[in-house]
């Protein structure tokens, strides 16, 4: 059992997430498109490749690296049977994200975030609740263009976060930010597909390893 948990940590890319996507896929899904120059957040400047006719372009090389780290992390969390919560406050993609979460066997929260969900969970849900072990933000802003409360709450509760940060978002409190577009349907569908494939892959790998261990 100990070997099951320590073995993946020795490899840099145990689940081979690099092969799931390429720079061209990101470009085709319009992940590099940011908002206009006026909406730019100061802390996103290192991730921005340039500005053309007032439109910000996100540097896809950095995105590729960040995305690989993020996918690798989610794969490890899923391998160890952690609870993953997909969060987004974009109404367009609410249904898509909930279906993705259902397909993976994980959880989603694309609705109004009640204040004490993470910080007051034992009162809201009942004693003995297990909090999520990873939050994945497919859009870090809420409907009034302010940072989502869950980022701050996850940081308070020591829960790691993976988030797709657009040019108007604050990447500060997110553990694995992924600079990229969060508004286009093509981009969000690509992210959903990638997360779904990593989580399913990690879970299958876990079941295979457990079966192999039992045979011995």
């Amino acid at each position: 059992d100990d070997k099951l948990l320590t073995e993946p940590l020795s490899h840099p890319d145990f689940f081979n997430v690099k092969e799931l996507f390429s720079l061209k896929d990101l470009f085709d899904a319009r992940v590099h498109l940011g908002h206009k120059k006026g909406c730019r957040h100061r802390f996103m400047e290192p991730y921005i490749f340039g500005c053309r006719l007032d439109h910000d372009i996100i540097d896809l090389d950095q995105t590729v690296q960040h995305l690989q780290l993020a996918l690798n992390f989610t794969a490890h969390v899923a391998y160890r049977g952690g609870i993953i919560l997909f969060v987004s406050r974009k109404r367009q993609f609410c249904h898509l994200i909930e279906s993705t979460a259902r397909a993976c066997g994980e959880y989603a929260h694309t609705r109004f975030w009640q204040g004490g969900l993470l910080t007051n969970a034992h009162v809201q849900f009942g004693p003995g609740v297990r909090l999520p072990d990873l939050l994945i933000f497919l859009s870090t802003l809420n409907n009034v263009f302010e940072p989502h409360v869950a980022i701050r709450d996850a940081a308070k509760m020591n829960i790691p976060t993976v988030g797709v940060v657009d040019t108007n978002c604050n990447p500060c409190l997110i553990t694995y930010p992924v600079p990229g577009n969060d508004d286009s349907p093509a981009a969000v569908e690509l992210y959903c597909k990638l997360f779904r494939m990593t989580i399913i892959r990690a879970k299958d790998r876990r079941r295979q390893s457990e079966a192999v261990e039992e045979l011995r």
């Binding site: 909930e98 979460a101 609705r111 009162v123 009942g126």
Partner: protein, 350 residues
Amino acid sequence: TLRLIFTTTAVQRKNVGASGPEKYTEAFIKKQIEEFNLGKRHLANMMGEDPETFTQEDIDRAIAYLFPSGLFDKRARPMMKHPTEIFPEQRKIQWGEDGRPFHFLFYTGKQSYYSLMHDTYEKLLNVQKHQDQLIAQDLPLQREKRNLAGSRWLTKIELEEMLLEKVSDDDYSRFIQLLQKLVALPCAEIEEKYIQKFSKEVPAQLQKVVIEPLQYDERGVAFSTGEGKRKTASATAIVYDNGTGKITVNGIDILHYFPVLQDREQLLFPFQFLGRIGKHDMVCTVSGGGRSAQAGAIRLASAKALRSFVTEKEVEFMRQAGLLTVDPRVKERKKPGQEGPRRKFTWKKR
């Protein structure tokens, strides 16, 4: 177990009341059901009856015999019922042994409501897809109008019962708006079964007042009956056709029964209104109330009886004149601290 976060000792104190009513696990309920069945057999044995055919009524009788109680409230007396009736149907604990919740929307707080919204939206998308396919194949879209007049949506309370959790007014109105949007699409017939889960039949609305047809007695004279009430008096009137205008109350002529002109005017008003003063005979019985109340009751009874003799338009005129409405005024009750219903005690300055 609590996560290590920066708190004070005051916050770490358990808030016992805030966690809501006690939640029962499925295993607990199952154990209770087994114990109940065993106890039922023991009880049947004790009473000398057959354990196989021991019904709930037999159990109640046996318990009432073995544990007699003089308490007034039936719910306080000892009872032995099936656990599903005792433990209220509520959410059992929502997560498994490893801590992972069962429902994928558990962390939203209102899982059944949001899953309902999710499913309804999925049906909406299906209908839109179907519509797009039909348009792509250039087929005409079906335009059958659903009968909206005979059905209503579920009320908020019924929805709460269905979902087993509280639904706020905003949430309820959003759900109804989504359903209406779904129904408004042309190809909504595909999801008819799903929509029927949330709509209810409204029973027949206004009961149209049936005017009874004329009856004929042995002499061949047409007559009809009517009943009326006013304050505490109730009256029945039988109006005969081809009459001379004779009116009898409890076997006594109205001149003797109602000496006051005002009461006789009340009696004659329906006939005067229809212009049929000398044409009908009337026999009435009346009981209860006082002089004026009896007069009003007979007036209403005779007006109701006259409906059968008269056209529908004249019935409508009678109704608008107020001849067919029951007078709802009754004696108002006396309140404490006052001398009568409205009169207060005399106010003395000192």
